[in-house]
Symmetry: C2
Subunit: 129 residues, 2 copies
């Protein structure tokens, strides 16, 4: 049996702020949040309603062997989210004070918008026709 | 309806080498691979058998506006994979010439091993009891 991918673990600068973003702004559900004394950190797992994709937010205290300075690299290109009505969703985001950074209409037949999470990770919203 | 997370998009340095790693070493299935003239790049989508998690590999040609130098940052902590028998899986990896970098026994009740993908992204295998 080959391994089964079960989540994407991203690292966050501030756990409370990141959970707030993924739940209040993106409407994800917090499945679990726990201290991890082994890494001197905290772990939280989230999922969108109607999706099986899970993300794990990882936070490490200063002094943890994993608590190196947070640097924005290229490894994450973006996290992809599907929406029913992109224009309506962008208006909802704006009401919450989140501005879409980029709109690409009809690239590859997809209607897309991008925002950044509190860690600088790009989030793509796309409306599939 | 809140947005539904549908994949994690990671950026890769070499598309062929990365697809080979995720299919031949990790046993994932290649769902789609296509040129994206809009970004002067290529996109490939993969999924593990028995899992709904999808990853999208993104590659950009030099000269693309997205083709900035590849830098390993902190945004991806790791990608998480579940295995039935970790010792057996680590032996299978070794047969394929892939060495586990780190074994953490019984951290949080999980039996874990880590490797790196060709882009320097950490991959975690865990056997849940």
């Amino acid at each position: 049996m080959p391994p089964r991918m079960i989540y994407t673990g991203i690292r966050v600068k501030n756990m409370d702020e990141s959970i707030r973003f993924y739940t209040e702004i993106l409407g994800m559900k917090l499945l679990e949040r726990e201290q991890t004394p082994q890494t001197q950190g905290e772990v939280a797992t989230l999922k969108s309603p109607g999706s099986e994709q899970e993300i794990e937010l990882n936070w490490y205290a200063q002094g943890s062997r994993f608590g190196t300075p947070y640097t924005n690299g290229s490894e994450v290109d973006h996290l992809g989210f599907d929406v029913d009505d992109l224009d309506e969703w962008v208006r909802e985001l704006e009401k919450k004070g989140v501005k879409a950074l980029l709109r690409i209409r009809e690239i590859g037949g997809w209607n897309e918008a991008f925002i950044e999470d509190p860690n600088g990770i790009w989030i793509e919203f796309l409306q599939r026709k």
